[in-house]
């Protein structure tokens, strides 16, 4: 080994040595199993990953909605003073940059509806609906927006297959940041 190589090796050892010292971190996190995280692991992905067992139709969902949702969202989702925005319809997105966004005119994925209803609704009692009720309410909202039929069964397999009208309406603003 030449002198130069020896020097380089020495310098390298120093650098790596100090690097290793810096990489020492406290390691104070406690190991946990995915099974023990399940209660918090509620995000549903656009491909349906994370959807629970269960099912529901719009017909069933109409009953769930009337009982659990209409107090704020109005009869049939038309809105109320508490939550004025209608949950269906909506003007074409070319109507102006302030066009209200709805499930029908804007949402790119059906799973957003299920995920948000399950995690956040009813607003004052989140995560109290059964999975069947969430599937039914989701089916009802999709039906209100004329995206599925009244008796179409929504479950972990069928829901992610629902093609949303505005699925291709998005431009990724900063692809280089992903």
């Amino acid at each position: 080994m030449s002198t130069l190589k020896l020097v380089l090796a020495f310098v390298l050892a120093l650098v790596l040595g100090s690097g290793a010292a810096l990489a020492q971190t406290p390691r104070l996190g406690k190991p946990i199993s995915e099974a023990d995280i399940k209660a918090w692991d509620i995000a549903v992905m656009p491909d349906g990953t994370g959807l629970p067992p269960g099912s529901g139709t719009a017909v069933q969902g109409a009953r769930v909605f009337a009982e659990k949702c209409s107090a704020c969202h109005g009869e049939g989702g038309k809105g109320s003073p508490l939550a004025p925005a209608p949950l269906f319809g909506g003007a074409p997105l070319t109507s102006g940059i302030e066009t209200p966004k709805t499930i029908g005119n804007f949402f790119g994925y059906s799973t957003i509806v299920f995920d948000f209803v399950r995690r956040a609704m009813p607003f004052s009692q989140p995560r109290t609906l059964t999975d069947d009720e969430v599937y039914a309410a989701t089916a009802y909202l999709l039906w209100l927006n004329k995206i599925i039929g009244e008796n179409d069964v929504m479950d972990a397999k069928t829901l992610p297959q629902v093609k949303m009208p505005n699925r291709d309406g998005f431009i990724i603003r900063f692809p280089d940041k992903i």
Partner: protein, 440 residues
């Protein structure tokens, strides 16, 4: 008498560098009679004399108790955040920072803006947990106490709601203060633990491209964050301007993503799940995807782009006669440091470079200042910022050409007709000294 060499030099520094009385930004570094003469048109000796001085009552008696937690003077009671939902109805709540009543580059914690989508959770830090799981070798749970033992770093960073300045999408200028227009951005020194440290400890799969960050609020608000950002400058924020986070800013911990849209800086952070794809959550799939004039929408607009606005003078403040004023405001960019701010007093016809308060931090507020001699006539004040990446704050015309504006004037200042507005703000000053919000 001939002015001395020094006085002549001072006068040279006071050169008018742009239309309508904008002075060289170095002028205020030098004081003296020549400065006063140049900016007011009067000599010091010629000014009306001040009243004789006397003791006021507070100078003649012992003062009040020194409290454990101090609050501002009773004479500053008007300096507060404005609220969108003071009765805590079942919906979101905003509190806006009074920029026109503050100065400097740090937002006091009591006045940091706050948006809560389902109220403020009352989190017991002894029971709060942060879990990291998904595409990792070993899922890990951290307590607050354990994170407080980690190596920390402090950094300045602004946090801005991407709906900040939304009233400026209005096709007519809305008459409102900088607080009402731009109050959903604030800047703090944040202290916490680098997220990359914790991700390293959990042993992340290199195939993981996203981190789903979720809060402990009742909505369990969640956003998808690119691993690129998580491994870059992301932090688990624990302290804000030296004290533990305010509840409205995420107590006991939040995700801090310097320069990225506020909503992604998930508060009350309790879960980070590493995944291959994004969650397409409600907030990224609906609320924070911006509709464009052609009906398409931007998705994953992460960055809060280069922006500035003048806070002094501005709507809601009063001009006190012609003479010297300091034009001052805030500039920031999610891309890095502010490199330059130009100001105009004639609606953008001519520009003068403003002085930047040093040090200028990356992805943080830069305070700019420019001396101005108001001649008492109509003026339109504007500021325009550039960042170190070379991005220029767009003019309103440039911005509207790409992003559009509303068809009808915006009447509800609390509404969000669209998101990510970063164009120029113009304050029109009339001969009567009244300040209006104008488009120029």
């Amino acid at each position: 008498m001939e002015p001395s060499i020094r006085a002549r030099q001072e006068l040279e520094r006071l050169e008018v560098v742009a239309g309508n009385g904008l002075l060289n930004r170095r002028a205020f570094l030098r004081g003296g009679a020549a400065f006063a003469a140049a900016v007011t048109g009067y000599t010091v000796a010629g000014s009306a004399a001040a009243e004789p001085l006397k003791d006021d009552p507070w100078s003649l008696e012992m003062g009040a108790v020194t409290p454990p937690l101090q609050t501002p003077s009773r004479f500053e009671k008007h300096v507060v955040r404005t609220l969108s939902n003071p009765n805590n109805e079942l919906r979101n709540s905003h509190a806006r920072t009074p920029h026109h009543l503050l100065n400097g580059t740090i937002t006091p914690n009591s006045m940091h803006f706050s948006i809560n989508h389902s109220g403020l959770p009352d989190i017991d830090p002894a029971k709060h947990r942060l879990v990291i799981h998904g595409m990792v070798r070993q899922p890990l749970v951290f307590t607050v106490e354990s994170l407080l033992r980690y190596p920390m770093e402090s950094r300045m960073a602004f946090v801005e709601c991407s709906g900040n300045s939304a009233p400026m999408f209005s096709n007519q200028p809305v008459q409102a203060t900088a607080q009402a227009l731009h109050g959903l951005v604030s800047c703090s020194e944040w202290t916490g633990v680098r997220l990359s440290t914790l991700l390293d400890e959990a042993g992340f799969d290199p195939k993981a491209k996203w981190v789903i960050a979720e809060g402990a609020d009742s909505l369990a608000l969640h956003r998808s964050v690119p691993m690129k950002k998580a491994l870059d400058d992301a932090m688990i924020g624990l302290y804000q301007n030296g004290e533990r986070l305010m509840p409205g800013n995420g107590y006991p911990m939040r995700l801090l993503l310097p320069g990225y849209q506020g909503n992604m800086n998930v508060k009350f952070l309790r879960r980070l799940k590493l995944t291959e794809g994004p969650a397409m959550s409600y907030y990224e799939g609906k609320i924070y995807s911006q509709l464009l004039p052609d009906g398409k929408a931007y998705r994953f607009h992460f960055l809060q782009e280069v922006k500035s606005f003048i806070t002094h003078p501005s709507f809601g403040l009063k001009m006190n006669g012609p003479g010297y004023y300091e034009i001052s405001g805030i500039a920031y960019s999610g891309n890095g440091r502010i490199s330059r701010v130009m100001v105009s007093a004639d609606g953008g016809k001519t520009w003068a470079q403003a002085a930047l308060q040093e040090p200028v931090h990356s992805k943080a507020f830069a305070r700019f200042r420019a001396p101005w001699r108001w001649n008492g006539g109509p003026a339109v004040l504007q500021s325009r910022a550039w960042d170190e990446a070379g991005n220029a704050q767009p003019t309103r015309a440039e911005f509207v050409a790409v992003r559009g504006e509303t068809k009808e004037p915006v009447t509800n200042l609390l509404a969000f007709p669209n998101q990510h507005y970063n164009s120029i703000t113009s304050w029109g000053i009339g001969s009567d000294g009244e300040i209006k919000h104008v488009y120029a």
